[in-house]
Amino acid sequence: MKGSASKRLFQIGIMSILLFGAGQWNVSAQDKDPNRFNRLMTPVSERNPPPAEDGIHDPDNFGTGLLQAPRESFATLPKSPSGNHVDWTKALQDGLITPRYHRDDKDATPIVMDLNIVREVKGSMPNVVYPHKQHTELLDCSNCHPAIFIPQKGANQISMAQILLGEACGTCHGKVAFPVSECRRCHSQPK
């Protein structure tokens, strides 16, 4: 009995080490062999492909080759579960990125507005909290007002269908900001 238990313990130990070790290895994008060892784990290498392979940049353009690959520049930034897998708000808060706020004046500072808008929603989903602070740290007032959102309480009706159609919040979210697959990032105020 004791012998088989220790044998089992030994086997579990070796398997744990091997699985843990396998998780640390970074599989290159070219290594799509279906028989590779960690094929069931999502390869990090397939996220944020280089500009020449991302389907957005022209691979034949000289400038494309000069662009820094996102994977390199994002490596040290806080992670996010979706989108381009970077938590840009946290990166800004932690001082890991220092965006330039004016094309000509490198010392310009953003005009940050600390105003929260709570939008009640139907059903059991938590209410939406829109924080101006995190948005105005990256955007100017004119990016949204008045073209996308009229700056008046009750003047803007927003639905999920609109957002998925690329209107209202969907003007940015799902394109250049985190996608709407992370419900709780917006629906954050429990009822």
Binding site: K2, G3, A5, S6, K7, L9, F10, G13, I14, I17, L18, F20, G21, Q24, F62, G63, G65, L66, Q68, E72, I111, V112, M113, D114, L115, N116, I117, V118, R119, E120, V121, K122, C141, S142, H145, P146, P151, Q152, K153, G154, Q157, S159, M160, A161, Q162, L164, L165
Partner: protein, 304 residues
């Protein structure tokens, strides 16, 4: 109990610890491998930046003119472009095999000089057009801010600073108009930008730290019905787009089409009740219609 069985637990522990140590050693050596890779990355970035700056200085329209027909450029523009070229040369002198901070600074200077040369090279007419183009946008923003400030001041029963009173704003707008008519679009734009900036700061000060709640409690059934109608219309638009662009099997396609028809029928009933003045019943019918639309959306994997 024999000797082998009694040693088995110790052997298991030894093998497990050995495996962990091996893993630690491997990850440490991976860290050492990363350091030369990082240097190589820095060198590559420097090389790329140098190639880009060289391309901008010599391949841009200004660069081509400076190299092929320098006499056609004004002496000031050529002199500044020449500074940019010299900074690039200094950057290119930096050794390629080391992390060269100086090179980056020279390249940044080269770009800065080039920008100045490009700015000097622009004609006065082009500049005027730029500023003149900004004026309508600035005016509409100022009007929007004025609206917001007046509304907020009324809501909170506060007095705005004198410089943001309607009369003062009107006076500033008139001054800007006069400047524009006299051909000085730049001064007009600067005046309006300053006013815009003041208004933004005031708005931020007034609203800072607040939370505004947009409630779903409507003051009448009619308003609630209008809200539901817009939601319903949005869902229908999304469904039609998904039907057109998404690929689902025939069975699901038929289901979606059926649901769409059912929701439209409910919507039509709702509109009849609305015409008859019964907004409560209209709202209930429309909510049924929206629920059917949500079922259809779920067939596309969209859960909203």
């Amino acid at each position: 109990m024999n000797r082998h069985t009694s040693n088995a637990p110790q052997r298991a522990v030894v093998w497990t610890v050995a495996g962990l140590l091996l893993l630690i050693v491997l990850s440490m050596s991976a860290g050492e491998v990363a350091a030369p890779v990082l240097q190589e990355k820095n060198q590559r970035m420097l090389k790329q930046k140098m190639a880009l700056v060289e391309r901008i200085l010599f391949q841009s329209p200004l660069g081509k003119q400076a190299t092929q027909q320098p006499s056609e450029l004004s002496p000031d523009v050529f002199a500044v472009w020449e500074f940019a070229r010299q900074e690039l040369e200094k950057a290119q002198e930096c050794p390629q095999d080391k992390r060269c901070e100086g090179a980056h600074e020279h390249l940044d200077s080269a770009l800065s000089f080039y920008r100045q040369a490009a700015a000097l090279n622009r004609s006065t007419r082009e500049e005027h057009e730029d500023f003149a183009g900004m004026l309508p946008v600035l005016r509409s923003r100022i009007e929007g801010y004025q609206d917001s400030l007046d509304r907020i001041a009324q809501e909170k029963k506060i007095a705005l600073p004198e410089r943001l009173h309607d009369q003062q704003i009107k006076a500033t707008l008139s001054s800007a108009e006069l400047l524009e008519k006299s051909g000085d679009a730049e001064s007009a734009a600067l005046l309006l930008q300053a006013l815009q900036s003041m208004m933004e700061h005031e708005l931020i000060q007034i609203r800072s730290g607040e939370t505004i709640v947009t409630s779903l409690e409507f003051d009448s059934s009619e308003n609630a019905l209008e809200y539901e109608m817009r939601t319903n219309a949005g869902n229908e638009k999304l469904l039609l787009l998904l039907l057109e662009k998404s690929s689902i099997d025939d069975h699901k396609q038929r289901l979606v089409t059926d649901y769409l028809q059912q929701s439209r029928d409910e919507c039509a009933s709702a509109m009849q009740y609305r015409s008859a003045g019964d907004f409560e019943l209209a709202l209930r019918s429309l909510e049924v219609s929206t629920d059917i639309q949500l079922k259809a959306l779920r067939l596309f994997g969209i859960r909203i």
